[in-house]
């Protein structure tokens, strides 16, 4: 991120009264329609969903409200339709396959993986927690949980973990989608509020975007964390619900009693749903960058492998092994480098920060010549070009740059930089055999940058058996089941004002 670019954006947004696009292309796949999910939690219970809304984003949502989410029976009964629908959609998406061969590996890859959109990154975390909880449910007490809950948990866990991959589009938090494509006056912390972002992009007429965001931040309720006023209403409705059901979990009893809570959450979800529809519709208008389909195809591969593992009953570990963590780190770093390179190489607006930061040059090709140089012991042919940049260039000799037209190919090496009027003349030598595709023509305006879109070298997976240095001296203790304590009654909240001796907390 270029400081100069951010300063320029801030000044222009302030002056023009509207957020500005950072990109000329959309760099993320958007399904038509994606499956949308919105979640609300209880203020005092971060690990249970008090309400889940879901459905294709082009239509109305379905709503699951357990009433008392801390009661296991009510919770599971409410989640069942959501879980069943999610599992059915995942399985359906995995049916249609195409054969893809990479090296000697042949895979049947789903043609269209299921895309899920959520309002923000906090919802990604909430779904990850929900997935982790459901995926490892045991049959403790002799009662086996509905298998569809367990399967849905594994799907959610996969989606949440895969959301770490830079550029992925399987689980798309819309706050990130907007922040990546728009420049606003909001700080990174403020950008977590989708309503504030949206208000800055389309402020009410006559309202400055800064004021529009501030107002949206105060009035909009996005979830999954409830604000204090929401929690106060929820708390009262919950108390009424629990008192009326008298510990009953009979659907015939609790269904009608949960109606007030359901309409409370319906009112909360409705504006969030409309906001998500508006955001997705706006971003879909932008043309997708060429690499979007390739990245979503890679998402499809991950999705296919997940389905092929989980549907027959495969398990995931709750935590990574040192080997898995090492592999994941490398995979994510590779994905990040390629995503950033793809964006800048394909989208001139995304290249500007690199130009400003001295990591790229843009200019007119003044000459193209061939020469001979000795590499090791052989004289080989090399191309030399002179590029006239209208701006002063401060690149050191020896720096490697890739021409954006051949960014996946071989780099050019900076030979010299000389002042040229108010700009600079940069002489570069191609580090490979000159071919027609590798050479620009005299008069072409070209961009060269430090970004390479080519695949990095093939790396081998580390050994399955960890070395002694990565194995503990003493075996770890077995953990207790993840749902241990679920059957216990929730402990009543303590009101600090009524505690007789507050000093005991110190």
């Amino acid at each position: 991120m270029s400081t100069a670019m951010e300063a320029l954006f801030a000044a222009r947004i302030y002056a023009e009264g509207q957020a500005l696009r950072r990109t000329t292309l959309r760099h993320v796949h958007l399904a038509d329609p994606p499956l949308a999910i919105a979640v609300w939690r209880l203020g005092g219970e971060r690990f249970r969903a008090a309400a889940i809304a879901w459905g294709p984003l082009d239509g109305p949502f379905q709503l699951a409200v357990p009433g008392e989410p801390r009661n296991r029976d009510l919770y599971f009964a409410a989640l069942q339709p959501f879980a069943a629908d999610l599992c059915a959609r995942v399985r359906r998406a995995a049916v249609s396959r195409e054969v893809r061969q990479r090296g000697s590996v042949i895979e049947a890859v789903p043609t269209d993986a299921l895309q899920i959109v959520v309002p923000n990154r906090a919802t990604v975390s909430a779904l990850g927690l929900l997935g982790r909880y459901l995926a490892y449910l045991s049959d403790r007490g002799g009662v086996a949980p509905d298998p569809v809950l367990v399967e849905a948990g594994r799907h959610l866990r996969f989606y949440a973990r895969n959301a770490r991959v830079p550029g992925q589009a399987l689980l798309l938090p819309l706050d990130r989608l907007v922040a990546d494509h728009w420049a606003t006056l909001l700080s990174p912390f403020e950008q977590a509020n989708l309503a504030a972002l949206d208000a800055q992009i389309e402020p009410e007429p006559g309202r400055h975007p800064f004021d529009a965001s501030a107002a949206a931040e105060v009035s909009a309720r996005i979830g999954p964390e409830p604000t204090e006023d929401i929690d106060r209403v929820t708390g009262a409705l919950l108390a009424e619900f629990n008192a009326a059901r008298s510990s009953s979990t009979d659907p015939a009893v609790v269904e009608p009693l949960a109606q007030p809570l359901r309409s409370h959450y319906r009112d909360l979800v409705e504006p969030v749903w409309q906001l998500m529809q508006r955001v997705v519709a706006r971003e879909r208008q932008l043309t997708a960058a060429p690499s979007v389909s390739r990245r979503f195809s890679a998402d499809g591969e991950a999705f296919g492998r997940h389905v092929d593992w989980v549907i027959p009953g495969g398990y995931y570990r709750t935590t990574d092994t040192p080997r898995q963590a090492a592999i994941t780190l490398r995979r994510l770093e590779d994905a990040l480098a390629h995503y950033e390179a793809d964006r800048a190489v394909e989208d001139p607006a995304c290249m500007i920060p690199y130009l400003l930061d001295g990591d790229a040059i843009r200019g007119t090709v003044a000459s193209v010549a061939e020469t001979k140089v000795v590499v090791k012991v052989r004289a080989v042919s090399r191309a030399v070009i002179a590029v006239d940049s209208p701006d002063p260039v401060t690149l050191p000799g020896g720096k490697l740059l890739w021409w954006t037209a051949t960014a996946a190919d071989q780099p050019w090496q900076v030979e010299s930089v000389q002042p040229n009027g108010t700009g600079s003349r940069v002489v570069l030598m191609l580090t490979a055999k000159p071919t027609a595709e590798r050479l620009p023509a005299v008069g072409n305006v070209i961009t060269l940058s430090t970004l390479c879109t080519g695949r990095s070298g093939f790396w081998l997976l580390p050994p399955v058996e960890p070395p002694w240095t990565h194995r503990p001296d003493v075996a770890l203790l077995e953990g207790e089941p993840i749902d241990a304590g679920d059957s216990e009654q929730p402990v009543a909240a303590v009101d600090g004002a009524t505690v007789p001796d507050p000093g005991r907390y110190t």
Binding site: R323, A325, A337, P463, T469, H470, D473
Partner: protein
């Protein structure tokens, strides 16, 4: 015997030297006792403790015992200098340098007698007794070509190596010697959520030493109590980065000296630059502060100031003497380095220095300067002109590297508003179960300490 001892005994603090020698002797004895077992010895060192010398000498000792040794470090620059150091101390020792594509040794190193550059497969087939490679290359050669079966794996700069890389390379030998500088930059990742695994035993970004001690807490850790690179005037600042690690300078006060000719007539316009150079020559430190202003990362004014300092330093015929020289000798441009935090700062300075014919002056980011030594260093302060503090710029490792590369003098260049960034309450930082360090708060403390110690050396520009 340790680095830098060339008939200069009377110029060294013998008590410090003897203490360091005793620790090194214990470490080697400890390591030899463990050979053949899955066990390790850790050597924790301050900046300039003669780690490379210790490593090279220990490798010679292990080879003398008939043991097959793999020697590794994180970067190509580091392993190349290890080849040189091993050959300097053990001229008769054959060295097999296993490298990646296009990473051959420079010609002058490759030409050293006994140095070969076999492929990994050849090194294994020939059972080369001493193989030197980067950790990545060693891991790749282990997986791809089965290069293994060593008795001892020695890793230099082990606090810079991460657990993920160490995972594969660790398999080449049962017994390990891990040597590193605890004050340098920790392994890092450009990912937004690089702390995802933090605190867990699987964290791939913990240091090689970190994962070893976590799984095997009884592993002996020896603290080397000496710095050969830094002189006594530099040690108080360096101590800010090594809490709980006592060490002293090997060289006695006054042995090293930087001498400059007097500014000639007409140099009034360069008065602040001359004042900074004089302060650095007389006290070993200067802190040049430009007027406070929020500026771009690659601030042209700061870059120009640094170029002028380098240019003027050489224009005033700088000469140095030290424990290894019998008198004053001219300061060579290649003995000067400029340390920065960002690549765009590096590129700007490189272009500015080249335009003055100062191409021999090294300009590098802090992570590339790790393990290197220069007579004079000019450090672009990480907080120079920053509007706010953040984890990257507060990282104590970055400041430590920038301020501990010099033998004679270090000139820090920043802005007079930088110190105000540390006024008030430090930022809230996330906590992680099973992980105690807090680089932001540690960095906050280290930066405050350094500002305080540099206060007498401030020169307003």
């Amino acid at each position: 015997m340790s680095a830098g001892v060339v008939d200069c005994g009377e110029r060294l603090d013998q008590s410090v030297v003897a203490a360091a020698a005793a620790v090194e002797q214990v470490m080697r004895a400890n390591l030899l006792d463990l050979v053949g077992r899955e066990a390790a010895v850790v050597a924790a060192a301050p900046a300039g403790a003669g780690k490379s010398h210790f490593v090279a000498a220990t490798v010679g000792l292990l080879r003398a015992e008939g043991l097959r040794v793999a020697l590794a470090a994180p970067t190509n620059d580091q392993v190349q200098s290890l080849v040189v150091r091993v050959k300097q101390l053990n001229p008769d020792l054959p060295v097999a340098f296993v490298h990646g594509v296009g990473r051959e040794l420079p010609a002058h190193i490759a030409a050293l007698p006994g140095v070969s550059q076999p492929s990994a497969a050849d090194a294994q087939r020939q059972q080369d007794p001493l193989v030197i490679a980067t950790i990545d290359k060693l891991a790749d050669a282990f997986l791809r070509n089965g290069l293994c079966g060593f008795d001892v794996l020695v890793i230099d700069e082990a606090y810079q190596a991460d657990a993920a890389r160490y995972y594969t390379a660790a398999g080449v030998a049962p017994t390990h010697l891990l040597v590193g500088d605890t004050g340098q930059l920790d392994p890092f990742s450009p990912l937004d959520d690089a702390t995802y695994w933090r605190g867990g035993p699987e964290d791939p970004l913990q240091t090689a030493v970190g994962v070893l001690l976590r799984n095997h807490p009884d592993t002996p850790v020896h603290q080397i109590p000496v710095t050969w690179r830094l002189e006594p005037r530099a040690v108080p600042v360096a101590r800010c980065f090594y809490p709980g690690h006592p060490f002293g300078a090997a060289v006695l006060p006054g042995v090293r000296s930087l001498r400059l000719t007097r500014p000639g007539p007409g140099s009034q316009v360069l008065a602040p630059i001359d004042a900074a150079l004089d302060e650095a020559a007389s006290s070993g430190w200067a802190h040049v502060t430009l007027p406070g202003a929020p500026v771009l990362t690659a601030d042209p004014a700061t870059a120009v100031m640094i170029r002028e300092l380098v240019h003027r330093l050489l224009a005033r015929s700088a000469q140095v003497t030290c424990e290894n020289r019998s008198g004053f000798t001219d300061l060579n441009p290649s003995e000067i380095a400029v340390g920065v935090s960002h690549n765009d700062q590096k590129d700007l300075l490189r272009a500015l220095l080249d335009s003055y014919g100062l191409s021999s002056v090294r300009v590098e980011t802090a992570n590339k300067l790790q393990g290197l030594t220069f007579e004079v260093v000019i450090a672009w302060h990480p907080l120079a002109g920053a509007g706010v503090t953040d984890a990257f710029h507060l990282d104590p490792g970055r400041l430590c590297v920038l301020l501990t590369r010099h033998r004679q003098a270090c000139i820090v260049v920043g802005r007079d508003s930088d110190r105000a960034l540390l006024e008030g309450v430090p930022p809230a930082t996330p906590g992680f179960l099973g992980w105690d360090p807090d680089p932001v708060l540690d960095g906050w403390d280290a930066h405050e300490g350094v500002f305080r110690l540099l206060e007498p050396h401030v020169i307003a520009a």
